[in-house]
């Protein structure tokens, strides 16, 4: 089945504030979309709406295909060595995480709580790739990464899309990718 992600007339309310409204988007195999906008516009909320972790205030989201999410929390056990923490997800997903490529191969014995912000982000990306899901939802994937790391993420997303996957990237930083679509949340502010 072709992976597909469609949102129709989405509106998001957090507390008493309507963050955005009348937002529609459609992504199919091979496409990537950057959601841009200043802080507090609802980028993360849009990602969580697309993931089905929040209920939309109005509108609907349709997904076909497995979803994978990276946000500001790596979802790894702090007290475990990195290798064991990733192995837990590996056992659930039955995929292999590319440790070497993400620069994590030398860190597998280090407990997650000692990792730096950038290393945690790389670890979360390793979990993401191991999940082998067609739809990637990335919330600020470049936070804490050095220039080499940024280039690496851009390359990984590019390969993922060429391989038939799709990606939604919520980021206020520039993201370089051929054929990247852009959606400015400020256009949908309520």
């Amino acid at each position: 089945m072709e992976p597909r992600l469609t949102a129709t007339d989405l509106a998001c309310r957090r507390g008493e504030r309507l963050l955005f409204a009348r937002l529609s988007l459609e992504l199919s195999s091979g496409q990537a979309l950057q959601v841009a906008g200043p802080n507090g516009m609802g980028k993360s909320s849009l990602i969580r709406l697309l993931a089905g972790l929040l209920r939309p205030f109005a509108g609907s989201v349709e997904r076909s295909g497995q979803l994978a999410l990276v946000d500001e929390r790596p979802a790894l056990d702090e007290h475990q060595p990195l290798g064991a923490a990733l192995a837990f997800w590996g056992a659930l997903d039955k995929g292999a995480a590319p440790l070497e490529r993400l620069g994590l191969a030398t860190l597998i014995d280090v407990p997650v709580r000692y990792l730096s912000t950038g290393q945690r982000k790389r670890a979360a990306l390793a979990r993401l790739i191991g999940q082998d899901a067609p739809i990637w939802l990335l919330d600020e994937p470049l936070n804490g990464l050095d220039t080499h790391g940024v280039a690496l993420v851009e390359a990984l997303v590019g390969e993922h899309c060429v391989g038939g996957g799709m990606a939604v990237i919520a980021s206020h930083q520039p993201f370089t990718l051929p054929g990247l679509q852009r959606l400015d949340l400020a256009d949908y502010a309520a």
Binding site: A51, G52, L53, L69, P74, H79, W89, D93, Q131
Partner: protein, 219 residues
């Protein structure tokens, strides 16, 4: 296979000596209560034998409160539950596995510790038998109440531990009444009722816990 992976991780965190800070503290706490009691009421063998079983029950209830604080909150904060949800693993399933792991991490140890504790409070073999059977029937219920409370207090930033304890006490009263009550009647009736309450609580806990964790996500 998925269930085993989840259970293995939960046990590695919760079992005494586990890396997640699981410890023997609840069991030591239970033994400490049994040790303090004779000092407090004096060395009167009749009084001790008559009331010792009930004290063990109170000790077990209080010991079950200790592991609650990090039982579910840590995984919610780390985003583990979000990741499980994306993989189609329901909150109910994860909470059911956590309930089993939670019970395994203190129930059997409490049953073992009841042996030396019975000597400390000076109860006879027959009373000990009823206490052990009662704890076997009642501790799954205590674990279930604990899981429900841990899921409801998941979003609390501070004061969760004290509140958990405060909520646990009234909810555990029915278990305590029938569990400790079976000592005075010496009968099967009390044990059967304790087991029945436990069963109901264990059946409710995954659904109550799952709903509470989903509700916290929307907050």
């Amino acid at each position: 296979m998925t269930l085993w992976t989840l259970l293995k991780r939960d046990l590695a965190t919760l079992l005494p000596g586990g890396r997640g800070g699981g410890s023997l503290l609840p069991v030591l706490f239970f033994l400490a209560v049994a040790m303090l009691y004779p000092f407090a009421v004096g060395p009167n063998p009749t009084l001790l034998a008559a009331s010792g079983g009930g004290v063990l029950w109170v000790g077990a209830l209080l010991a079950a409160i200790l592991p609650l604080e990090r039982l579910l909150a840590a995984d919610v904060e780390r985003g583990m539950f979000d990741q499980w949800a994306l993989r189609g693993l329901s909150e109910e399933l994860v909470v059911a596995v956590r309930l089993l792991a939670h019970w395994l991490s203190f129930g059997p140890f409490l049953l073992l510790a009841a042996l030396p504790a019975s000597a400390l409070v000076g109860i006879d073999g027959e009373t000990l038998r009823i206490v052990e059977l009662g704890l076997l029937a009642g501790t799954p219920g205590l674990a279930a109440i604990g899981v429900i409370i841990a899921s409801v207090t998941v979003g609390l930033k501070s004061g969760g531990a004290a509140l958990s304890g405060l909520l646990m006490v009234p909810l555990a009263v029915p278990l305590l009444i029938f569990g400790a009550g079976s000592l005075s009647t010496g009968g099967e009736g009390g044990l059967a009722l304790t087991a029945a309450i436990s069963l109901v609580l264990v059946a409710i806990a995954p659904f109550a816990g799952g709903a509470a964790i989903r509700a916290a996500r929307e907050g």
